[in-house]
Each structure stands twice: as structure tokens, then as C-alpha cells.
């Protein structure tokens, strides 16, 4: 491996970092909100909400992400102008839907792990469902949610590289360009791998921090 070449191309690849990061951050944001809503729908007393949430999870966990991305970018525009999305937005939509399906299950598992006595105590005190979900149940479930949630987030970080197939100029696309221009694959792929490892390492550290912050005080 040519270390000088690695040093030479790394800045070029890093030009895509901001796009990779914004893909990730927007998708994390939307998939967390969506996942929370889906999880609460799944636990709702209203059957149609439960069905919708279950259907959503079944669909988006059952289809390859690559296919979802193709669908949003290539197939949706056939339904008309309003459904035509630029590459970046299409990628965020696809990643968010896909990740929301997984995050809803992570969040739901956290909620149902909270002792039923907690719900009863809150109800017996006259608290509304909205209040005790927010103040009593969710804070306790966070502790359980953090590990699977960060797992999903790490996955999401890596899967942003798929946006390359719908021409989003994130890091993977830039690395591919170098490969086809320079006819060298080892160095660009090595640099790309290191950058992704660094990014996911940050998430692993974040997980440790979150777990510490939400541990039960004994």
C-alpha cells in the first residue's frame, strides 16, 4: 500500500464528510422521532394505529435498503412532479423510513420493559397517560433503549454509503471516483474504512456516555 497516496487522497474523500454527516444527522433525527411515534402507536389502545405501525415495521424491515432508495429516487417520480426528490433528500427519506422501522422496535422494547407497577403507580396518582409516559415511563426506558438504539445508529452511519447509488456525493462516491480515475483501489478503500471506523467509534463512545448518564442510582 502506498502511504503517500493515502495521504494525498484522504482530503479529497473528506470533502464528502459533511454530506455523509448531514445524511446521518437528518436521518437519525427523523428516524428517532418517527420511531418514537411508531412505538407509541404500536402500544396504543386504538387498533388502526397498532396495525399501521406493525405494517410499517414489517414493510421497511423486510425490504433491502438499497431497494427503498431506488424506489424513492427512481420510482416515485413516476407518480408526478411533487414526488420527484433531489438525490440528497431522497436518500434522507429512504434512510429515515428504514431506520425508523428499526428504532421503533428498539424504543418499544424499552417501553414494555418498564415494570407494570410503574404505570399503575402513576395512574393511581391520577397522572394522565401523556404525563406519565413523558415523565415516568420514557426516562426509565431510555436505559434499556440506548444499546439497541446506538446499534441502529451505527448501522445508519454505515448505510449512508448506499446513497452513492443515487448519486449523492458523499464519501463513498468520492472514493469510487478516485478508484476509477487512478486505477488504484486499496488506498481509497482503506482511507474510507478508517474514516467510517472513526465515525462509528464516536457513536460507541456516545453509547458509553448515555448509559452512564441514564444508569439507575444505587
Amino acid at each position: 500500500m502506498d502511504w503517500n497516496f493515502v495521504r494525498e487522497i484522504t482530503p479529497t474523500i473528506l470533502e464528502g464528510l459533511s454530506i455523509t454527516l448531514s445524511l446521518f444527522l437528518w436521518s437519525v433525527l427523523f428516524s428517532t422521532i418517527g420511531g418514537l411515534i411508531l412505538a407509541l402507536m404500536r402500544l396504543s389502545g386504538l387498533a388502526p394505529l397498532r396495525w399501521f405501525s406493525a405494517f410499517f415495521g414489517w414493510l421497511f424491515r423486510g425490504i433491502p435498503l438499497l431497494l427503498i432508495m431506488f424506489y424513492v429516487f427512481f420510482a416515485l417520480p413516476e407518480f408526478g412532479e411533487t414526488w420527484t426528490l433531489p438525490p440528497f433528500r431522497a436518500a434522507v427519506v429512504a434512510l429515515s423510513m428504514w431506520a425508523a422501522a428499526y428504532q421503533s422496535e428498539a424504543i418499544r422494547s424499552g417501553i414494555i420493559s418498564v415494570d407494570v407497577g410503574q404505570f399503575e403507580a402513576a395512574e393511581a396518582l391520577g397522572m394522565s397517560r401523556f404525563h406519565y409516559m413523558r415523565r415516568i415511563v420514557l426516562p426509565q426506558s431510555v436505559r434499556i433503549i440506548v444499546p439497541p438504539f446506538t446499534g441502529n445508529a451505527i448501522n445508519l452511519m454505515k448505510q449512508t454509503s448506499l446513497a452513492t447509488v443515487i448519486t449523492v456525493p458523499e464519501m463513498t462516491l468520492l472514493a469510487q471516483r478516485i478508484i476509477s480515475n487512478e486505477f488504484k483501489a486499496v488506498e481509497p478503500l482503506f482511507a474510507l474504512a478508517i474514516i467510517f471506523l472513526a465515525l462509528t467509534s464516536v457513536l460507541v463512545l456516545a453509547q458509553i456516555g448515555l448509559e452512564h448518564a441514564f444508569r439507575l442510582k444505587t
Binding site: 407497577g117 396518582l125 391520577g126 394522565s128 444508569r215 442510582k217 444505587t218
Partner: protein, 324 residues
């Protein structure tokens, strides 16, 4: 008598299993009613129906003049609206067997939460009241402790304070000493006794026969989802009429002598020593030596309990790690 709690014809089944078989109970304001009975008799379910943690299948419940649920002529039960249910629950403080304190909040936060959220009490007022209540259950020094940092007896006393913070008209106690070490039960019972003395209306589901004899105005014996026998405590516990009541009391008393309960709290340095002390209500009346031996054994158990708590605290300190 103008009853504050009125239950009539209460029915509840879980699947094919009929738990409550037409229960009638009336509780007057200021009255302390103990419900005793074998496990599975439905006594806890009665309590949980009052604040609709369980939804009855038949009958009628009225609390403080409000209808909680009522069977319609067509046999269906009509429940109070969501909003009314919340208001009724404010009137009914409930203490659970397993405390159910919120583990992510300190003792003080546990008590303050509901008054702030439900009654809109200001933070300052809620905290002042919470500190008063903590003091009254002998735990002012534990205000900033988290539930898992406290013994079972202390947690349960915080739970009682949490319920009292809502100014309930009636307090429901669901086997509140069953999940704590026996030597810590006394500190909970003492708090309850004091509450009864202050005139609180209480419905107490319990296995503590000594407490029932000592504090309750009336004892109900339940079996197979029905009230088999009821009357003044001394009468039901001392001269039970019904064969099933007799059998139940015999089974319970053979295991736990009645005067082994109602000991003063261990960590409330002699605030009211002996106030709830052993009173001779024991129907089986063991002879003097036995009583002395038992008393000494109770004391020993209590000391062991204190030792245990201290040891556990030390261990917790030693073991507390970031991922703990």
C-alpha cells in the same frame, strides 16, 4: 352513617376465573377497614377495582359521592369518563405491595411529581409539603436518596408519603408489608397506625393480624371472591363465627404470633418507642416464657436487619461502578 366508599354487587373475572362474586362493602369516613383472607380470595382485586386499575364486570362503586362505575340495566358496566377517573384517583391514595416508587427520581421528587403535575401545585409548595410528609414518616434525612438506595421499609414509607401528598380522602393499602423483610414491617405499620389515629379513612388488605386487631375498626374476611364474615376486629379475629374464618386464622396464627408486629421503626431513634408495642390480642395466648422468647427473637431479628442494611449499604458503596 354516610359511607365514603360504597361498593355493591361487585363482580370481576379474569377469563373463566371468577375472582369477585358480588361484593358489598361500605366504608364510613374515618373508618379503618382491614380485609383479610387467603391468597386468591380476591381481596387485592377489590382494592384495585376501587381506582379502576382493574375494570369490574358488574356492580357499582361510589367514592366520595362520585360514581366510579355502575352496571346498566342491560348488564354492561358504565365507567366514569377518563377525566372523572383521574379525579377519583386523586381521592384514593394507593400503596402497593412492591412500593412502585419511580426509581429514576429521588424520594423528594417521587412525592412532588403528582401534586405538581395533577393538581398544579407550585414547585415550592409541593416541596415544602413533601419535606413535611417525609418528616412525618421519619425519613427527612432520605429526601435526596434514590429508591434503590433505601431499604424496603423506607421505600414503602416514601410511597405512603407520595400518596398522602395528593390529599386523598381514602387510603388503600395493598399488602404493603409483604415485600419487606419482616423486621422492617413494623416501621411501616407504625406510620399506618399514626395515620389511622389522625382519622384517615383506610382500607387495608393485609396479612398482619396484629395490625388488624390493633388498628382496624372493622375486619372483613374474604374467601373465594365473597365477604364471608365481617365485624369489629376483636370479634372476627377473637371469636370467628364461620368455619373458613377459623381455619384461615388458625393457619395464619400458627405461623406468626400476633404480637410479633407493630415494633417501632429501627431508624427513627426512639420517637415513639413502644407506642404500637406488643398488645395482648393473641387469641392463641402462648404462655409467658414463649412470649419472652419470641420478643427476644424479634429484637434479635431487628438487630440482624439493621446489620444487614448497613452491610448492604457498604457493599453498594464498594460496588458502585459507572455501569452499575
Amino acid at each position: 352513617m354516610n359511607p365514603i366508599v360504597k361498593v355493591s354487587g361487585l363482580e370481576k373475572s379474569f377469563g373463566d376465573l371468577q375472582i369477585l362474586n358480588g361484593i358489598d362493602i361500605e366504608v364510613a369516613s374515618g373508618e379503618v377497614v382491614a380485609i383479610i383472607g387467603p391468597s386468591g380470595s380476591g381481596k387485592t382485586t377489590v382494592l384495585r377495582c376501587l381506582n379502576l386499575l382493574e375494570r369490574p364486570d358488574g356492580g357499582r362503586i361510589e367514592v366520595n359521592g362520585r360514581v366510579v362505575c355502575e352496571e346498566q340495566p342491560n348488564g354492561k358496566v358504565k365507567f366514569a369518563s377518563k377525566r372523572e377517573i383521574r379525579e377519583i384517583r386523586e381521592e384514593l391514595g394507593m400503596v402497593f405491595q412492591r412500593f412502585n416508587l419511580f426509581p429514576h427520581m429521588t424520594a423528594l421528587q417521587n412525592i412532588v411529581e403528582a401534586p405538581k403535575a395533577v393538581k398544579g401545585v407550585s414547585r415550592t409548595d409541593a416541596e415544602a409539603k413533601a419535606r413535611e410528609l417525609l418528616d412525618s414518616v421519619g425519613l427527612s434525612h432520605r429526601a435526596d436518596h434514590y429508591p434503590l438506595q433505601m431499604s424496603g421499609g423506607q421505600q414503602q414509607r416514601v410511597a405512603i408519603a407520595r400518596s398522602l401528598a395528593m390529599d386523598p380522602a381514602v387510603m388503600l393499602f395493598d399488602e404493603v408489608t409483604s415485600a419487606v423483610d419482616p423486621e422492617l414491617a413494623g416501621e411501616i405499620l407504625l406510620v399506618m397506625k399514626r395515620l389511622a389515629d389522625e382519622g384517615m379513612t383506610m382500607i387495608v388488605v393485609t396479612h398482619e393480624m396484629g395490625f388488624a386487631a390493633d388498628v382496624a375498626d372493622r375486619v372483613l374476611f374474604m374467601d373465594h371472591g365473597a365477604v364471608v364474615e365481617q365485624g369489629p376486629a376483636q370479634q372476627v379475629l377473637g371469636q370467628p363465627q364461620h368455619a373458613r374464618t377459623k381455619a384461615f386464622l388458625r393457619a395464619v396464627l400458627d405461623r406468626t404470633p400476633m404480637d410479633a408486629v407493630s415494633e417501632p421503626p429501627t431508624d427513627e431513634a426512639g420517637s415513639q418507642p413502644g407506642e404500637a408495642g406488643s398488645q395482648p390480642v393473641d387469641a392463641t395466648s402462648p404462655d409467658a416464657t414463649d412470649t419472652k422468647v419470641e420478643r427476644l427473637e424479634t429484637e434479635l431479628a431487628q438487630l440482624r436487619g439493621e446489620l444487614d442494611v448497613t452491610r448492604r449499604q457498604l457493599e453498594q458503596k464498594r460496588d458502585s461502578r459507572p455501569w452499575g
